[in-house]
Symmetry: C2
Subunit: 201 residues, 2 copies
Amino acid sequence: MNVNKIHGYDYGASNIQVSPVSFEEFQQLKITAGWTADDEASLRLAGEVLSDQTRAIIDHWRRRIIAAIPHLAIHSRSPEGEALPEYAANSGARFERWILDTCLRTDDQDWLNYQHEIALRHMRPKKNQTDGVRSTAFVPFRHIVAFIPVMNETIRPYLAARGHSVTAVERMHSAWTKSIQLQLALWARAYSGPCSTESQW
Amino acid sequence: MNVNKIHGYDYGASNIQVSPVSFEEFQQLKITAGWTADDEASLRLAGEVLSDQTRAIIDHWRRRIIAAIPHLAIHSRSPEGEALPEYAANSGARFERWILDTCLRTDDQDWLNYQHEIALRHMRPKKNQTDGVRSTAFVPFRHIVAFIPVMNETIRPYLAARGHSVTAVERMHSAWTKSIQLQLALWARAYSGPCSTESQW
């Protein structure tokens, strides 16, 4: 996959705003999630294992699962219910890239910033902006939360597809699920609205 | 465990407010999470398996994990850092009961209402109200999100402790993780603040 050819994929670019989450807050979150050096290594291995399977995984999630759930499928369609092939292709390529970023990127300031950007792109007004489409105004946070177990369960056979031991697959899976939940905690910051003394994020 | 003796455990009581989440919204969430009749049955079995292990599980989470993480431990201590034994005992008993409710309750309107109440009790101003204590004003939502992988990982041996097959344990574990994530989606409603047209919950 040629990163330069993914429309709207702006990881590390100067137009991405600085995350409102501090690096110290992020470090505390990793402690809360029990994140270890072994998770780090296992996630890298997962990245190698998944590197040539990202298209199949995204197709699995989108065509076999999301497409069959009307209240999820609407978020990649026009208000009239029409398919948006270009939007599907571009956001699909970014979705594929996200799998690899989850596994292979270093979680530095660029990482924090892009997590915030990913959340904003599921929210008003950024959701349709990147691709210049008309679709739902936002993906409700609750459905992102609830879809995570589906992603975690369906990715398991892809992690096992390269013949690693049961233990190694289990470790990759554990690291994957922790990383997704940490990302969810970061996305929740965007969904919690502007900074205020009332925020309980 | 005698439910009537758990201080502040008000499941189904008339003083619990109606959840702002509609039953239809909840049904959609279950579809998003891929919830099945098999999950329902596996969660019931998990309830039987865990019924006499809840004290050990809560001790595991609180004494062996939370107590060692200062930014989590503060939420059950006074602002001066003192232990609050009665608070710990009462909230611990409710925490134990929550494990069984997760597995054994029917997810009807009382269920929805109590999920909202549980969230409010981690937030200002309800967090310390039930027990009449002085402690942190709220548990940040992000740390609830990030602690869930720890709960999911550590509960596995307790699910396996009664000699069920690997497949049965895996099913119980899958149903458990889905239920917790569905509850998280409901708790997120409380953390998202008052109803408004701006809400992206």
